[in-house]
């Protein structure tokens, strides 16, 4: 156990907040898609990877300034997520659930390997944006602009998301579809449209997460979505899959857990990635439905 001074501790808190935010943004995509399709979208981590690469190419090849490059990257990622659902999942909507899951795993491998082919397996460096890379001193605590930016952007995005889900007609329809397809259709809700919107939102949040991720950990490889994807799936399960608030909570638990584990017990730093899985096992043993989840009885 390491004893640390206050400024170092606060720096770790800021780091935890930003890592937790990134996990939360990615975990929401898993949980929303699961909530509506009962599908674990295994390709979600790869959509995250694409978001980072789209932003990278928008800045490096198309030489767009960041304030244009980022929205363009987000839009392309959203479109990609929608296309993925349209071609990989929708044709299997009425097939046994295992088929659509296998399709998701296949899509994940396809995107990763296409990534290696097209982007190349060599790591790329995410461009540095001066504005966000300044170091701020708050008292004796030094933090980078990116570490402050990440939680702020995440907070704003989450507020908008919760507003959409809870206060708009579309959000209401999304909640209805996640409970009962047929009853929602009887209200005149077009289920396909709602599913498209869900994939769009999930992919958009993944793109926001990917761009922020790129600014904080500026190394891009086509497999970069693998581990965050897996962890954020775990975050969604910890929080109670299907519940957006749960995904946020799960994301922050993992973010804080990982950073603090390494900060306080540096000897365990090699086990950093294992932390998520240990928490997963504990949650599954103690409360399998997750923190916010309700135990449900599956109707046959």
């Amino acid at each position: 156990m390491t004893i640390m001074d206050f400024p170092t501790f606060m720096q770790q808190v800021v780091n935890s907040l930003s890592l937790g935010s990134l996990y939360a943004l990615l975990a929401i995509g898993y949980t929303m898609v699961y909530g509506i399709l009962r599908l674990i979208n295994f390709a979600h981590g790869d959509i995250f990877m694409l978001g980072a690469y789209f932003a990278f190419y928008a800045i490096t090849i198309f030489t767009l300034p960041w304030y244009l490059a980022f929205p363009v990257a987000i839009i392309f990622t959203v479109l990609f997520g929608i296309i993925l659902e349209r071609f990989a999942y929708r044709p299997l909507r009425n097939s046994p659930r295992i088929a659509i899951m296998i399709s998701a795993i296949g899509a994940s491998y396809l995107i990763e390997n296409l990534g290696v082919m097209i982007f190349g397996g060599r790591p790329e460096a995410f461009p540095t944006i001066q504005l966000f890379n300044q170091i701020f001193s708050i008292g004796s605590v030094k933090v980078s602009g990116v570490s402050l930016l990440i939680p702020i952007v995440t907070l704003v995005v989450l507020l908008v998301l919760f507003y959409v889900i809870n206060k708009t007609k579309t959000g209401m329809a999304m909640r209805a579809v996640s409970k009962d397809y047929e009853a929602a259709r009887l209200m005149g809700v077009d289920v396909n449209t709602i599913i498209t919107i869900t994939f769009g939102i999930g992919s958009g949040l993944a793109a926001v997460g990917a761009i922020l991720w790129g600014m904080k950990y500026p190394q891009l490889i086509p497999l970069m979505g693998l581990m965050p994807g897996l962890k954020c799936f775990i975050a969604a399960v910890i929080g109670g899959i299907g519940d957006v608030r749960g995904a946020v909570i799960g994301g922050f638990i993992l973010g804080f857990g990982e950073i603090m584990l390494v900060a306080f017990i540096p000897d365990l730093s090699g086990y950093r990635d294992a932390f998520a899985f240990v928490v997963l096992i504990l949650v599954l043993l103690i409360k399998p439905s997750g923190i916010m989840g309700k135990a449900t009885v599956e109707k046959v």
């Binding site: 007609k169 209401m172 329809a173 909640r175 209805a176 409970k179 009962d180 047929e182 009853a183 929602a184 259709r185 009887l186 209200m187 005149g188 809700v189 077009d190």
Partner: protein, 234 residues
């Protein structure tokens, strides 16, 4: 207003509807009775476009809607209150009611109808902030009906509205159905409570394993020997 001709449905290898023809005339309450598995619910689902039809036509005000999407059918005023109520348990009563008006864009009309359903079901107004899943069975049925009314139905189809409810509540549901009909909404009713249904119906159809076997006015069916034996338990 609704004319169904030779409607056929295959359901996972079963010929569930073998050619159903029925008519709903303006201003009337029509009921469809029959044993479990006769195909009553399938008939309504087929009208709504929830199950694919293999043959036949559904004419609504003279226009064939048998290939229309569910959302367009709902928008045109054909609304189904499904069996088992199917309210959205996590949504509040008010949100369930708002979802009933999902396809409508006339804000003033929606607000007016919301007031109207709260007058019909004052209990729901008292509980409008409650999650629908916390309501009693009877209240959930009221919510399901209220939600359907919010879609501004010209024809309201109700699948087993009295199922599993206490006799007193059943009575009030039936008097509400009458009230709704008097407000100008046509009603197509499926009921296992054949007696209560026929008593308020202008016309009735009896279904048996995918076909209609008997039809007649509500009064005629109530005194029909076959109907009395098989469905009224007399």
């Amino acid at each position: 207003m609704l004319e169904i001709k030779d409607l056929q449905v295959h359901y996972g290898g079963i010929h569930a509807l073998r050619g159903i023809s029925l008519n709903v005339e303006d201003g009337k309450i029509i009921s469809l009775i029959g044993a479990n598995g006769a195909g009553k619910s399938t008939t309504l689902k087929a009208i709504m476009g929830l199950v694919p039809k293999t043959a036949g036509s559904v004419l609504y005000d003279g226009k064939d809607i048998s290939q229309d999407k569910t959302r367009d059918i709902v928008k045109n005023g054909l609304i189904l209150t499904p069996e088992g109520r199917r309210v959205f348990p996590d949504l509040t009563v008010d949100e369930n009611i708002a979802l009933g008006a999902y396809t409508r864009n006339d804000r003033a009309g929606v607000a007016k109808d919301r007031k109207w359903v709260f007058e019909l079901f004052p209990r729901l107004e008292e509980r409008k902030w409650q999650a629908a899943g916390t309501l009693s069975g009877g209240e959930q049925q009221m919510l399901a009906v209220a939600r359907s009314l919010m879609g501004k139905p010209k024809l309201l189809m109700m699948d087993e509205p009295s199922l599993g409810l206490a006799p007193l509540i059943v009575k009030s549901i039936f008097s509400i159905i009458r009230e709704i009909n008097q407000a100008g909404v046509n009603v197509l009713l499926i009921e296992q409570n054949a007696k209560a249904a026929l008593e308020i119906s202008d016309y009735g159809y009896v279904m048996e394993t995918g076909v209609i076997t008997i039809s007649g006015t509500g009064k005629d069916l109530l005194v029909n020997d076959q109907v009395r034996k098989a469905y009224l338990g007399e």
